[in-house]
């Protein structure tokens, strides 16, 4: 499979209280960022000469929709100059409601973006307020409409559910959010259960008992509500938090993370993964410094802004392969796993498999084991059990 390219745009109008992605609210360094991005491309192209043949480019963030269409075009142009890019490249850009006009969206399309990932989060104003989002439901609807109107054929929408507080999401509330979104018939949906990340203001408020979160049982119910509703609506629940209207609309870029295909990350805090081979023997992961100024300073000195790197030994690869595989609808291919790690998963699983199957959490086809949708809800626990058995 071809490698993918990720570009982290580290700007947001304001920091959302639940978010632990790296971004800055000060946009004055935007042009410096864009300039340095070209330098990073040059350095990466030199360091990974055989990384070429990207068939995905993903603008993530942060809020990439704060870039002007011309700036996006400039970046894509630089990508073409520094790397080999496949003809049918999937170019995704994350868009936040409230940061774009219909014209701007058209401009992105014209610049070469062919897929939008829209940070809807909710179509309920109270929920959006709880999440501290800058936009309201109407703005979210407008973006969805405008994106369609200007001809994007591949739209993804992000949804956050299981929020706490007085908004405290009931099953009905989540259902109505999902149903409302479905009326736009997005090709792809990412539905995330709200996670309180340490170090975020929302986490601090929760620790301070400012609000309650749904308990684990309620979360389980919400998870299956979302899964059932979308599945009945014809979507494939193809990864724990991701749904596609048909196999063709599965996120090509994100699938690279889950299938452990090489990805290159540019921009502050971006991560990269090298799947091994090609002169750079060991599979490895590396990550850029998560600070715009340090990132700029490195590039100014002509150094790659890599903060850390780790090579993955067999054990680590096996852990990741299991974890990532079981989060997906395809599961873990038994033959492939055996070929890579010389482990016969079925015999290692032994009685545990029977127990999980009986409880409707896992199934086995002739050539793979996979979790059921109910199994997805407890995937972490199951993986841990499997790892212990290994």
């Amino acid at each position: 499979m071809n490698p993918g390219l990720y570009i982290h745009v580290p700007f947001c109008l304001r920091k959302c209280p639940y978010c632990d992605f790296y971004s800055e609210a000060d946009l004055t360094l935007k042009s410096a960022f864009l300039e340095a991005l070209r330098c990073e491309m040059a350095l990466v192209a030199e360091a990974l000469p055989d990384a070429g043949g990207f068939d995905t480019v993903y603008f993530g963030g942060g809020t990439p929709s704060l870039l002007e269409p011309s700036e996006v075009a400039g970046v894509l142009d630089a990508v073409q100059r520094h790397f080999t890019v496949a003809d049918d490249v999937e170019v995704t850009l994350e868009v936040n409601p409230g940061t774009v006009t219909p014209e701007k969206l058209a401009g992105f399309r014209h610049a070469g973006v062919n897929r939008l990932s829209i940070g809807v989060q909710s179509l309920d104003d109270a929920t959006l307020r709880f999440l501290g989002r800058l936009h309201n439901a109407e703005q979210a609807r407008d973006v969805l409409d405008a994106a369609r109107a200007c001809g994007f054929a591949s739209l993804s929408a992000d949804l956050i559910y299981g929020v706490g507080g007085a908004t405290g999401q009931s099953v009905e509330a989540v259902l109505s959010d999902v149903t409302a979104l479905l009326s736009y018939a997005p090709e792809h949906l990412s539905c995330y259960m709200l996670t309180l990340e340490e170090g975020t203001p929302l986490h601090a408020r929760h620790s301070n008992n400012d609000f309650m979160m749904p308990d684990e049982t309620a979360q389980g119910t919400l998870f299956s509500t979302v899964s059932d509703t979308l599945t009945e609506g014809g979507y494939l629940h193809y990864e724990v938090s991701n749904f596609a209207r048909s196999p063709g609309f599965v996120s090509r870029h994100n699938t690279k993370y889950w299938e452990m295909v090489t990805t290159v990350g540019l921009g502050p805090s971006a991560h990269g993964f090298w799947c091994g081979g090609g002169g750079r023997q060991e599979p490895s992961r590396w990550w850029n410094v998560a600070n715009l100024r340090s990132w700029l300073a490195c590039l100014k000195e002509g150094r790659r802004p890599v903060q850390g790197e780790e090579t993955l030994d067999r054990e680590a690869l096996m852990t990741e392969a299991l974890y990532l595989g079981l989060r997906r609808m395809e599961g873990v291919a038994l033959k492939d796993f055996h070929r890579r790690f010389a482990v016969d998963l079925v015999s290692v699983l032994g009685g545990l498999f029977g127990e999980l199957e009986e409880q409707g959490l896992m199934v086995r086809s002739s050539d793979a084991i996979r979790l059921t949708r109910r199994g997805f809800a407890v995937a972490d626990g199951i993986v841990l059990r499997l790892l212990q058995a290994l």
Binding site: E216, L384, R385
Partner: protein, 597 residues
């Protein structure tokens, strides 16, 4: 030799033995203030954390007395908890005298009496000491009355101390010099010494603690252990002064240690006599009574591959804990391990903690049991202390269980509460008598099985800390016993099985199932817990399955973060034991014993 004094400090738990030892040590100046810390003889982490002494410790103090002479005072600080009486009795065998401490606010308690009797058995000279006189609640005259009447000692000889504030310390030292007899023995006779303790030093091998009765011992000597004829060349002898201090020679009447490159751990036996290979003594020292274990439990490593390490650890621990008794054992659920006898539940906990801390093991202990006598229809008899080995009930003609005589000392006002507790525990009131100061001694016969678990804690709580008790085994009585099995998701877990009195079996089963429910974490699937007698289920609990346990986002940097977390969690899971497909934490095995009634 006339300038040597060997004595133990004995008392009920917490009356201040270790603190008084501290003051005596400081007074004689063998340790600098910088190196000093409170209860300095309580060297084990577990002693310091729990604030109690578990091991007897010897320290050799140089003291210039008021008579102008230099004395050597060999002091042994002993534990007060009833489980460690064996430590006290071995200490007393190396002494000519004892300081019997009584807490000025608590007065005479059960182990004050028990330890007094022990000292009298050894014909020791006893000096009563009333400690903690600084406390506002101290009642010296009240305690003096008890010393006269309850202990039968002369309260006029009692020394008043505050170990905390350093009051009366010189009086204690002077009394030891003037009132206690020096040791007897012939330094020119063939060597005769007794091993009263030992420990393992990773650099030097076994370190033997001994008391010399006759003769002398020095580096270069070839010695012999009389019980197994093992002979060794002595590398070093010395005395304990917090640290080991080498000496040229240790002579009759003295206490010390020796190092002799002893590699075979099992060669060293507590109570054994040491002599010279070429000049043997004629008789051996009487040695020590064998300890009487009262509870039995099996120890298994959580990870089965740690069994070899456990073997080595048990041997080394045995060196330092002569009361530990064990033999090989195996379980269907837990693999290979050891069946062990303990002097009580605290002893059991201490052994588990020491094995885990000092030898880095992670262990599971099965439900403790007492020893039952089973008589079969065939006339054959068997002793059973392991529920897993309990025979088919239809083959049994009669089962008997051990009974104890418990002596409980309480202020009069708690008499009713104590009576109720003991009757609830299937006890029988045998006798009671009034002591001085409206306190009483109540004597009960109780099934041992009813007291080993939490009797002492219960007694303490119903008497607001004033009750104390001591016990001895008195024999066996017929009983109605059943085996209570526990099934986890339909699978019988032999390591959880218990032998219980039939009348108590249903409530025990119910409580234990509830405890298991608390201890076993939720899993990905439903877990059914059942208590059963034979095929009959007497109690059940269900642990509902986890509904949600999954990370929402999984891109770029999330992946390595999650992998590291999984690796960490996987390590943390070591203390869980898999039974069938269910993870049972180590703590569950002990929790089933705690009663809620």
């Amino acid at each position: 030799m006339k300038h040597i004094r060997n004595f133990s400090i004995i008392a009920h738990i917490d009356h201040g033995k270790s603190t008084l030892s501290d003051r005596l040590i400081q007074e004689t100046g063998i340790i600098s203030d910088r190196d000093f810390k409170d209860q300095i003889l309580d060297t084990m982490d577990i002693e310091r954390e729990r604030g109690i002494t578990i091991k007897s410790q010897t320290v050799s103090l140089p003291y210039k007395a008021k008579d102008g002479n230099e004395y050597v005072l060999n002091l042994i600080d002993t534990p007060g908890h009833v489980d460690f009486t064996y430590e006290v009795s071995r200490a007393l065998a190396s002494c000519e005298g004892a300081l019997l401490i009584v807490d000025a606010s608590q007065g005479v308690e059960a182990q004050t009496l028990a330890n007094l009797y022990l000292a009298m058995e050894h014909d020791l000279e006893i000096i009563p000491v009333i400690n903690k006189i600084d406390l506002p609640s101290a009642e010296v005259d009240w305690v003096k009355g008890q010393i006269d009447e309850d202990l039968g000692l002369d309260s006029q000889a009692a020394i008043l101390t505050s170990a905390k504030n350093g009051i009366g310390i010189v009086d204690v030292l002077e009394a030891a010099v003037t009132l206690l007899p020096p040791p007897e023995g012939d330094p020119d006779a063939p060597l005769k010494a007794v091993i009263f303790d030992s420990h393992y030093d990773p650099y030097r091998g076994t370190v033997v603690h001994f008391r010399v009765f006759d003769g002398t011992i020095k580096a270069g000597d070839t010695i012999k252990f009389m019980s197994n004829d093992a002979s060794y060349k002595v590398e070093e002898v010395g005395v304990f002064q917090i640290v080991r201090v080498p000496r040229k020679v240790i002579s009759a009447g003295e206490v010390g240690y020796l190092i002799a490159g002893i590699k075979t751990v099992s060669d060293t036996r507590c109570g054994d006599t040491i002599t010279h290979l070429r000049r043997e003594c004629e008789t051996i020292v009487a040695g020590f009574k064998d300890p009487t274990p009262v509870v039995f439990s099996s120890i298994y490593p959580v990870a089965s591959d740690d069994y070899e390490e456990l073997i080595v650890a048990m041997e080394k621990l045995k060196l330092n804990d002569a009361s530990l008794i064990y033999e090989k054992d195996s379980s269907a659920a837990l693999g290979f391990g050891f069946r062990c006898g303990f002097l009580g539940l605290l002893h059991l906990e201490v052994v588990q903690e020491r094995l885990e801390r000092e030898y880095g093991l992670s262990l599971i202990l099965t439900a403790p049991s007492v020893q039952y006598e089973v008589e079969f229809h065939t006339g054959a008899e068997e002793i059973i202390d392991n529920p897993a080995l309990y025979p088919d009930p239809t083959t049994i003609k009669r089962t008997s269980e051990p009974f104890i005589k418990a002596a409980i000392i309480v202020p009069e006002r708690y008499m009713g509460a104590v009576m109720k507790l003991c009757l609830d525990r299937r006890g029988m009131s045998v006798n009671y008598q009034y002591l001085t100061n409206s306190r009483m001694e109540m004597v009960f016969e109780l099934p041992l099985a009813e007291v080993v678990y939490d009797f002492y804690d219960k007694l303490k709580s119903i008497t607001q800390g004033y009750g104390s008790f001591d016990y001895e085994l008195v024999g066996y009585k017929e009983t109605d016993l059943v085996k209570l099995d526990f099934l986890i998701n339909g699978e019988k877990v032999d390591a959880l099985a218990q032998l219980v009195h039939k009348d108590r079996s249903v409530s025990r089963g119910r409580i234990a199932c509830a405890k298991l429910k608390e201890e076993i974490p939720r899993q990905m699937f439903k877990v059914a817990i059942q208590g059963a007698i034979g095929a009959k289920v007497v109690s059940r609990e269900t642990i509902s399955a986890y509904r949600k346990d999954v990370t929402a986002k999984c891109y770029g940097g999330d992946i390595s973060r999650k992998r590291k977390l999984l690796e960490k969690q996987k390590k943390g899971k070591k203390r869980m034991k898999m039974v069938g497909q269910v993870e049972i934490p180590q703590s569950a095995f002990l929790a089933v014993l705690k009663s809620d009634d």
